[in-house]
Amino acid sequence: MEVGQMQRQWMGYMKSLFMEGFLDGQFLQLQQLQDENNPEFVVEVVSLFFEDSERILKDLSFAVDQQSVDFKKIDAHVHQFKGSSASIGAQRVKNACIAFRNFCEEQNIDACRSCLQQVKQEYIHVKNKLETLLRLEQQIVAAGGSIPMMEWN
């Protein structure tokens, strides 16, 4: 596949991620922070996000499984996750976290457990999407092309 084709494929994929609400404008902000001096910035932040998320999800699973549930602790973890997903632009994960926090406030453990599943699902979804997107970017760059700048209005 030649560069132009790859770039168009990338743009199509990006557009779909936005249309489907997986990503929001914050992701574009991150792309703007990448340049020739920091060509790996987005990959680095996304990797940190994955690393951080796995840790938080582990802590969350542990917390909701406790005999006596500490809702404050759960809320603290979800708050963290909400923050990091917002910083990446992972909109659906962020929204799932917001819903989760509401149930923490209500101290509804069943709803919390179900929210955790939701959040996990959304995380796995966006992880797959981002990995695909970044792979496409890698291919473009390897073929000597550059990643298009996108605007989202």
């Binding site: 902000q29 922070l33 932040v45 940190l48 708050h79 910083s87």
Partner: protein, 215 residues
């Protein structure tokens, strides 16, 4: 109108940057317990030509500043670390950003003068007011954007140039689109604000516009 404002601002920045001899770089101390946010804020600041030190807690921030009351105080070889701005997350385990702000403002004049900006993912009016009352220069809603950092930098650099000049800029700008009731609670910086941030980031309202909607 917005375009003209932008041109004026960027010319002024160039002017200010030229007038600096050498020590042009702002040194910013950023404090955040989030791994991801530390990475992002560091990049935001570096891309804005700032020297950056990022730490993960308020304790570490105090240590870095030499304010951790270890007895090993600041006078010893404190040629040091000149920090032009502190940006701290609000919600952190242990000491919060708010507590860090209070600590700094309670210090001797050198440290008290360092502008402190609070960052938070939560748009809570009482929180914002409390921070501003305690002397925070500004309150930024997370995720922090490049436009936020640029505006901050301009504000700080104006301060570094001349205090009087800064005040006259404040007065000139106060007729901007900020409503009167906001001017009492917002720091002067808000009067230097960009035109509605919707022109730059349609999806993320600035503190200003969200505060407006709350009123």
């Amino acid at each position: 109108m917005a375009a003209a404002g932008e041109i004026f601002r960027s010319n002024l920045t160039e002017l200010l940057e030229e007038s600096h001899s050498g020590d042009n770089e702002l040194h910013v101390l950023a404090v955040d317990d989030s791994l991801v946010d530390r990475k992002v804020i560091e990049r935001l600041l570096k891309i804005s030509s700032c020297k950056v030190t990022v730490v993960e807690s308020a304790r570490r921030a105090l240590q870095f500043l030499g304010l951790d009351g270890d007895g090993e105080n600041s006078d010893i070889g404190f040629d040091g670390v000149k920090v032009n701005l502190i940006m701290t997350d609000y919600s952190m385990p242990g000491m919060t950003g708010y507590e860090l702000l209070k600590k700094i403002k309670q210090e001797s004049s050198v440290f008290r003068e360092i502008p402190v900006v609070i960052m938070s993912s939560e748009n809570v009016l009482t929180r914002i007011d409390r921070c501003l009352e305690e002397g925070a220069e500004d309150f930024l809603l997370k995720p922090v954007k490049l436009s936020d950092v640029r505006r901050l930098k301009e504000f700080i650099m104006r301060g570094e140039v001349k205090d009087g000049e800064k005040n006259s800029l404040k007065r000139r700008r106060s007729s901007d689109d900020c409503s009167p009731s906001l001017s009492t609670t917002f720091s002067p910086m808000r009067h230097l604000c960009d035109p509605p941030s919707s022109l730059f980031s349609p999806l993320s309202p600035s503190t200003l516009s969200s505060k407006k909607s709350r009123l």
